[in-house]
Symmetry: C4
């Protein structure tokens, strides 16, 4: 079999499109955000990606139906004030090896380029090791112009983390997109404890993104999920709080 197999359901025709990635990662922030957005704006699935870079695994749903783990791409035309065409990437797993990460990201970017994508947003979590009440959104980008634009929306840029990096798909989409596909990239990372899935951080990230796109959506379902998690975390707090994670808080904290 080929290392990566892409099944197209359709090939949408888009213009000057924006790719928005949310794959599993710290606090599952990116995946929660993108899946919520796909639901809210009713985006259409157009491709499934299977690969031997994913785990050899099927997922089983509540009825007992099995499904090979995959990544999925969706699109929605004409979103927001400027009628922006959007492409979405989410899925069950990221590539399991560095080489798998590079090969998968390169393929995603190649597909996106062909569809007309010129800008990439990668969404993820930024782990604190401490529970966060009002999560801020930290950013990184491939151009100074985008950094300025994002600052206007209240995204923080990390003077305090000069040597930090972004590991995984969120990082590579920026790096390879810039290097090989002439795309502008922005990474938005929601502050999160890193202990739980974090719908609150996903909401914070989405709010910045929607402001950028000039589109409004409901956050009700994310809020409900956030409340469930909050009940959990408040119990933990009552039990004496959470200790700071040792190390890791500095250099590896940007894991997308």
């Amino acid at each position: 079999m080929d290392d990566i197999i892409v099944d197209f359901i359709e090939k949408p025709e888009l213009e000057n499109a924006v790719l928005i990635e949310g794959l599993p990662g710290v606090g599952n922030v990116g995946k929660l955000a993108v899946e919520h957005l796909i639901d809210e704006i009713d985006a259409e699935k157009f491709a499934e990606i299977h690969s031997l870079h994913f785990p050899p695994q099927v997922l089983v749903d509540e009825d007992g139906l099995s499904k090979l783990v995959n990544n999925r791409m969706y699109y929605k035309k004409g979103v927001g004030l400027d009628d922006i065409d959007l492409v979405f990437l989410t899925g069950d797993y990221q590539g399991m090896t560095p080489q798998g990460q590079y090969q998968l990201t390169d393929r995603i970017l190649s597909i996106s380029k062909e569809l007309g994508v010129e800008t990439v947003f990668s969404l993820g979590g930024y782990s604190h090791g401490d529970i966060v009440d009002k999560p801020e959104v930290l950013g990184a980008a491939t151009t100074s112009e985008k950094i300025e634009e994002m600052k206007q929306l209240g995204v923080k840029f990390s003077e305090e983390h000069p040597s930090s990096g972004i590991i995984g798909a969120s990082g590579l989409l920026l790096g390879l997109g810039d290097k090989l596909y002439d795309m502008t990239g922005i990474c938005l990372m929601g502050e999160t404890s890193g202990y739980f899935v974090d719908p609150g951080a996903a909401r914070a990230v989405l709010k910045k993104l929607m402001k950028y796109l000039g589109e409004e959506i409901s956050y009700e379902k994310l809020d409900e999920k956030a409340e469930e998690v909050e009940e959990l975390t408040s119990k933990v707090k009552d039990m004496g709080g959470m200790q700071q994670q040792e190390a890791g808080g500095e250099d590896l904290s940007y894991i997308g």
Copy 2:
């Protein structure tokens, strides 16, 4: 050398055949079941598969004869009320890496397709972390029709494990068979403690499969093995029982 080397002893001509897989895994349930079935219905070996995805190892038998580790395929024509042609897959190891798992499973399916296989049963164990007296058989399948059919035979489908998956060859045979080879797949998993090889769970799985095939076999040899293991486990029980495994019991418990 090629990554995968298939030596055909013969190429059986089959019709609408069923592939039944039992490779090493949790409690060795699948391997025990398939090897017992091969013996009982006197199936014929038709292919040996060697691969650099297996460990670099020879096994040595009690006479001192060495044999390169492999997977093996067998067949038996006209089994059960409906004269079903069966193909079997068993072996010494599963592929050692995710990529090896994908490549080997793809090759097995490709061989099976050529032989006329249209349905795949993968057999495995479902680990509890606790000793099981009367093992149930849990299922997963690629179609709702097969799920209904299996429910009629008393196979349980896992409402309580919505996000679980099946890892390894048992999962991939369903996933890739469905995706790339247009095959229907069913996975049958016998409940097992996960601490010992479990001929009792293998028997439970086989019973469901034989009911489906409409064929009767003797379970004597499995029962003898089960008794030996039971002596062992009862000693452990006397020593104060076994503690539940931490974690793992939820999400990774379907390991085939």
Copy 3:
């Protein structure tokens, strides 16, 4: 670069030759034995093998000269009563991954076949976890004829280890040699504690091999090394002996 690079110094013309392998492994038994034999019968180096399956490393000798890690092949014509042509394989490392092991062994066998090799001896250690006074030599082979022949020389065949295997180059040379190159293979393993390099076990293995070849050599240098190690081990014994290794003694003990 190619995955495996073979530099031939010369291409010896041999007939019905015997390949004798001794790469690093348990107690370094195989490597000690083959290097001693190469020295004693003054064999000629004819090939160096470099590969990205070896560690990315140079060794530095006592003068400060660096040398890329490699495997090396030697030959000696007309050894013993029957004028047997011998080929030797030794080196700094075995392949670092299963795939590397398969690819390297396959290449060695392909080179050997071309040179006229028909029989392979792989030499290694068999770990006990306990200090051994008079090491026995255990064997495995690809044919019953060779097993009988070896039994005549006092090599033990392991009724007590029915499910054991031989891992690494020593195992693969038998397995792939038999499967792909129509070669007869014999593995000789010297009993060893597994705690130290073991020239005594190497000597025991060599004695059986030389008896087979009908050739006599001096063991003086091995005996000197053995004495040095013995001083060390007797100190350990005085300190209260060595505890049996847990597990491992059964199934993984044949590691070549």
Copy 4:
């Protein structure tokens, strides 16, 4: 994507050039030394190397700009008394797997050969496990002539470490350069504790190299960095000194 992507900014024309490598490693000695030298003699960047053998990661600078991790090559013509052309290799990471190390080093050497490189200096650290006041510089080389030449400059060659090796890019550049590209190689390793980045060891290594090149540079910036680190280490010393690392100090200590 290709496994290794080389972007040339320009292709300098050099003669009888010397490649000087300093990638991350023990005490970051090599990287500190080469980056300092690049700054001091104002070398020009001419190539960037991206690869799936590096981690899937972007680095983020203090402004929030992201950059795909890479290796970088620089050059400077006519350095020192003999107008030597220099090529430099530094970067964010070494290859992450043995195979990646081999492939990347081979590509670097192939590029260097084409540019006219005939000699390779690899710079690194030599870990003691103890804090070093006056770091010595240890060497290894591919020819006796270079060893003699280096001894004249006060480089130590390691009679006390006969079986040691140099692991990683620093080792492979010598090994593959010698084997495949007919280049002479010298490795210079600064003594270092291995606990901290060590600008002092980098300075010691650079001093030997500059003596060889017949060029003088300022070490002010390295001295400043060294002082900062020294403040740190003296605090540690006050707290009771540092225990010797167990093992490791012997055979793995040459890690470049």
